[in-house]
């Protein structure tokens, strides 16, 4: 036997064993140490991240009346990897979708991820959910995620409150807190107070076995976080006043903003036409949003912040204040008026002449205020019209015009107090005078203000020289809102000058345009305005505060395309003031007329 030579074959055999062992060790080293994708796959297999969505904070008015609460809905989620052997027809029947819709949704979910849950059908009704829940075990790979939707017990303050919707990709990219399918405040205080309202999402990490049965929490819940409910908001809004305002404004386009002068708290804030905020919730939101968007009266437009109107005669006191401060106007200054025959600006009516500043406010005299404005712009203390204009503009901006006030409402517009540069651009540098820009003297021309700015102007006058940045939120959760957040802005015009103006406004109420709408036992200081509207009938404006001493409410009312300020805006403002101060309205005839009148 040739055993001697064959014995050397043991070396070959051992070599084969060692080589195979070595190859396996290399492979194991690769799988276990170098390639870490398997760890990820293992986690995808066994860990299911269940987001715990917190309920959004509730919203109350200043008296604790509930304005916004949450209603439970159920999102149907799908984990494509686990979907198998289900009765598709039965499933479609329960959800009321077509088999084609089923396939599409499943394909979309698969495209996103086979291992991660995605939304299959959002916001199932309670009935569908109840029906589905009993049969859930027959549909592996599907599960239900409780969510909450906003609900409004009384459909109030749609523009103020804003609405909530799903985050879009841009928001997700910008803020890593948001994940696809999350809800976020899109407008109104839902947006400005999003961080407070949304709460903090929690996450539960559960382990599942191969049949998708939960087998416990991952590492005894060490990495779980508990959802924290959003903070409740207490608004400064008076729901009764808000509701009353919305009733008065029905059938009219425009806006009402009411402010408590001493605090800057907004008492009522509305834009008309409005809409029922419940329309923009849940599955119906998309459709309704489209309808509202197409409506020619623009119900989605927040006129209180985004409507920009020439202030008209309400602006005359601004010029008087600047004139008094700059020394070009005193209580003994008199100018004469030729009524409608005056030049270069006509007066609206005939009245006593010459007249002083009190009577000029009371009579809303255009020529008087043109003279005041002219003397401001030709003040010899400074060098020329342009510098005088800039001095004037600084004063005006100080009173809260021409810039955003910084309130906590959403998307304020700045209005416009034209800059000297803009006139340079139009007329050429040094080639414009007070005569060129004379319409500014009576609040027309390029000047634009928002209803919020007008109401704030009311508060400034009521406070005789300062305002507090208007805001709607009084309290967040248990904590009162930080007062420093809404600062006190003191006008650079002496309070004694304000007293003169207030006196003039008091005469408006007793002798002037507002006398027909005086409230019993309450002195309302106000001023009407008629904003020229190149596109149609003039806008009717009124700005007021009351009572004259220790005012508790400042208000601005704008009614679009309604003609004179005294016809619409004034009575509505006076009713609002009476309602707020007295709690009820005695002048039921006026009230009825206002409510029933349709202007569009």
């Amino acid at each position: 036997m040739a055993n001697k030579s064959l014995a050397s074959r043991k070396q070959t055999v051992i070599t084969i064993f060692v080589v195979v062992g070595f190859i396996y060790l290399l492979r194991l080293f690769y799988l276990q140490v170098i390639d870490d994708s398997y760890t990820l796959s293992a986690n995808n297999n066994v860990l299911r991240y269940v987001t715990q969505y917190p309920a959004r904070g509730l919203i109350y008015d200043r008296n604790g009346k509930l304005l916004v609460y949450n209603e439970a809905v159920y999102d149907l989620m799908v984990l494509p990897r686990q979907v198998k052997d289900i009765d598709t027809l039965e499933f479609c029947r329960i959800l009321d979708i077509t088999p084609e819709g089923f396939r599409q949704r499943l394909r979309k979910a698969k495209d996103y991820s086979r291992y991660k849950p995605s939304l299959f059908e959002k916001q199932l009704s309670k009935e569908t959910y109840g029906y589905l829940e009993e049969k859930m075990y027959r549909f592996p790979g599907f599960f239900v995620q409780p969510r909450t939707l906003r609900k409004y017990p009384t459909p109030l303050g749609a523009h103020l409150l804003g609405y909530v919707g799903e985050v879009n990709q841009a928001m997700i990219d910008k803020n890593p807190y948001y994940k696809s399918g999350d809800y976020v405040g899109i407008s109104g205080i839902e947006k400005t107070y999003e961080e407070e309202l949304r709460g903090i999402k929690g996450i539960k990490i559960k382990m599942v076995d191969v049949h998708n049965r939960e087998v416990g929490s991952f590492q005894d819940g060490l990495h779980d976080t508990i959802a924290e409910m959003g903070k409740d908001l207490y608004l400064s809004i008076d729901a009764t006043l808000q509701e009353y305002g919305e009733r008065l404004m029905q059938g009219k386009m425009g806006s009402i903003v009411a402010i408590e002068p001493s605090t800057g708290e907004i008492l009522a804030f509305l834009s008309s036409p409005s809409y029922n905020p419940n329309l923009l919730v849940g599955r119906v939101r998309g459709k309704n949003f489209g309808l509202l968007l197409q409506d020619p009266v623009k119900p989605l437009l927040n006129r209180a912040l985004m409507g920009q109107y020439p202030p008209g005669s309400t602006f005359k006191m601004v010029n008087d204040l600047v004139g008094l401060q700059e020394g070009v106007l005193t209580t003994s200054t008199h100018y004469s008026c030729q009524g409608p025959g005056s030049t270069p600006i006509r007066c609206t009516h005939n009245h006593q002449s010459p007249l002083d500043v009190y009577t000029a406010i009371q009579q809303s005299c255009n020529p008087f205020h043109w003279q005041v404005y002219r003397s401001i712009l030709s003040n010899p203390r400074y060098k020329g019209t342009r510098e005088n204009y800039e001095i004037w503009r600084d004063h005006v901006m100080d009173m809260g015009f021409g810039h955003k006030l910084g309130s906590d409402t959403d998307a304020e517009l700045a209005g416009n107090i034209p800059s000297a540069e803009s006139f340079d651009a139009i007329y050429g540098k040094g080639r414009w005078t007070s005569m060129t820009v004379r319409s500014l003297s009576i609040g027309q021309g390029e000047i634009l203000t928002t209803p919020l700015q007008l109401a704030n102007y009311g508060a400034l006058l009521a406070n005789r020289g300062y305002y507090i940045v208007p805001h709607v939120v009084k309290q967040i959760g248990e904590k009162a809102v930080d007062e420093k957040k809404f600062k006190k802005v003191i006008s650079d015009i002496s309070p004694s000058h304000y007293e003169i103006i207030v006196e003039g406004m008091r005469q408006v109420a007793t002798l002037g345009t507002a006398r027909w709408y005086q409230i019993k036992d309450i002195t309302m200081c106000g001023k009407t305005g008629t904003a020229e509207n190149p596109h149609g009938k003039d806008h009717s404006l009124f700005m007021a505060f009351a009572p004259a001493d220790n005012p508790v409410i400042a208000i601005a009312v704008v009614v679009e395309n309604a003609g004179f300020g005294s016809t619409w805006a004034l009575p509505i403002a006076s009713l609002m003031i009476e309602k707020y101060i007295n709690g009820e309205v005695s002048r039921t005839q006026i009230e009825e007329d206002m409510i029933n009148k349709r202007l569009y």
């Binding site: 060692v18 492979r27 194991l28 297999n45 066994v46 191969v210 087998v215």
Partner: protein, 419 residues
């Protein structure tokens, strides 16, 4: 008394120690693979680790019995034992119980026994018996033919039971044949055929055939171009191309869609994570997620929550990989290689042909199981359901491997006395 002392002195404790280490580690991993808090007692018979404990104890007893049996018993009755097992394999075809697609079980109460497992040591015995005969002449047809019958008969019967994996184990005996004088060219040819078959499946038969022609042309430039070499080369080329075409033809015509998918998945041509690829993918995930040091004892999630199929039997290595990481996997692989080398070393020191050939048979069987089983869990070898020796849950295989190994240990103890 002297017999006992003799055993204790002469026994190869290294083999015994490797054996004991492997079955202990095996049990620990079975325990971990199916562990759940409701059944934490280690001898709970409703759990597989509880039953495996019984199999281990009985295996140790069997090992002891083998050690106390006269060593000549096995060589004397080798053909008889082989014959009995062949009869059992026939009987199971007729009267057996079908478990997961294979009709290879005798059901006795709660326990099931698989005769094919015992075929391994019976065949090893018969092969050793044959080659240790005085009439061996490697050149004769008879010497070449009979071993093929000894190996082929049980393999065929097991194939008929629809247990392809266990039947394939018998191809491992090529190592015995090699040691007995089979030309190394066969081993080389075997490797070449495997490479040709795999590349045919992967890149297509046309390209492999072209590659073979190019290779032959290159060889023609190197070798001495006499008539004989040219004819041989041409014959080899024809054989190679013929093989490649037959593989292609066989895959297309004889394999079921299911087997084809398995092959494609292994070759990376198809990604079917739900079907055939699922097992391998999950197995790789389990092992791969173990990292360097593992997740720790009982901390594996993939095996425990059943993501890995057959996690206590064919895929037991996943638990090792997941819970003990690369370190643990390395220990297991190294222990197996050490065991295999030890078996070869011990075999080579035998003075009787029977013992030495038997030793090679043991090494062949263990190596084939080791290579296929672990290779399958790490995605290097197709999924072939055969157990990892001493590790996988199962009484028949543990008994069979124990008897297989202990007959060898006993032969070694008596190596001097037998002369």
């Amino acid at each position: 008394m002297s017999e006992r002392n003799n055993i204790l002195n002469e026994i190869d404790w290294k083999l015994v120690a490797l054996y004991l280490l492997l079955i202990s580690m095996g049990w620990i991993n079975i325990y971990a693979a199916v562990y759940n808090e409701d059944h934490s007692s280690i001898i709970d018979l409703s759990q597989s680790y509880g039953r495996q404990m019984i199999w281990i104890v009985t295996s140790l007893f069997l090992g002891l019995v083998v050690l106390l049996t006269d060593a000549r018993f096995f060589s004397t009755f080798a053909y008889l034992i082989y014959g009995i097992i062949i009869l059992l394999l026939l009987a199971v075809l007729a009267f057996g119980t079908e478990i997961s697609g294979s009709k290879s079980w005798f059901q006795i109460g709660d326990f099931a026994i698989q005769p094919s497992e015992f075929g391994k040591f019976a065949t090893t015995l018969a092969l050793a018996k044959f080659f240790s005969g005085q009439h061996i002449n490697v050149k004769t047809f008879r010497t070449r033919f009979i071993p093929l019958v000894i190996i082929g008969l049980p393999a065929l019967l097991i194939l008929l039971q629809n247990d392809t994996g266990s039947a394939l184990v018998y191809s491992g005996f090529i190592l015995v044949l090699y040691r007995m004088g089979l030309s190394g060219n066969f081993l080389l040819a075997g490797v070449m055929f495997i490479i040709m078959a795999l590349s045919t499946l992967m890149v297509g038969y046309i390209y492999v055939a072209i590659a073979l022609v190019i290779l032959a042309s290159l060889l023609l430039l190197i070798i001495k171009r006499n008539r004989r070499n040219i004819v041989n080369l041409a014959a080899l080329l024809m054989l190679g191309i013929g093989f490649v075409f037959s593989v292609n033809y066989a895959v297309d015509n004889f394999l079921g869609a299911h087997q084809k998918t398995r092959i494609n998945v292994l070759l990376g041509k198809e990604l079917d994570l739900r079907g055939a690829g699922y097992n391998v993918n999950q197995s790789k995930i389990a092992i791969g997620s173990g990292g360097f040091a593992g997740k720790g004892f009982l901390k594996g999630t993939q095996t425990k929550y059943n993501f890995v199929p057959e996690q206590s039997t064919d895929f037991i290595f996943c638990t090792v990989g997941e819970e003990w990481g690369f370190l643990g996997s390395m220990v297991v692989v190294v222990l197996f290689i050490l065991l295999l080398i030890r078996v070869i070393i011990v075999a080579e020191r035998q003075r009787s042909d029977f013992s030495r050939i038997y030793g090679y048979g043991v090494a062949s069987v263990l190596f084939f199981h080791f290579a296929i089983n672990i290779g399958m869990t790490i995605g290097l070898v197709p999924v072939i359901g055969i157990p990892l020796p001493f590790f996988s849950y199962g009484g028949s295989s543990l008994w069979s491997f124990t008897i297989l190994l202990f007959i060898f240990i006993k032969q070694d103890v008596r190596r001097n006395a037998l002369l």
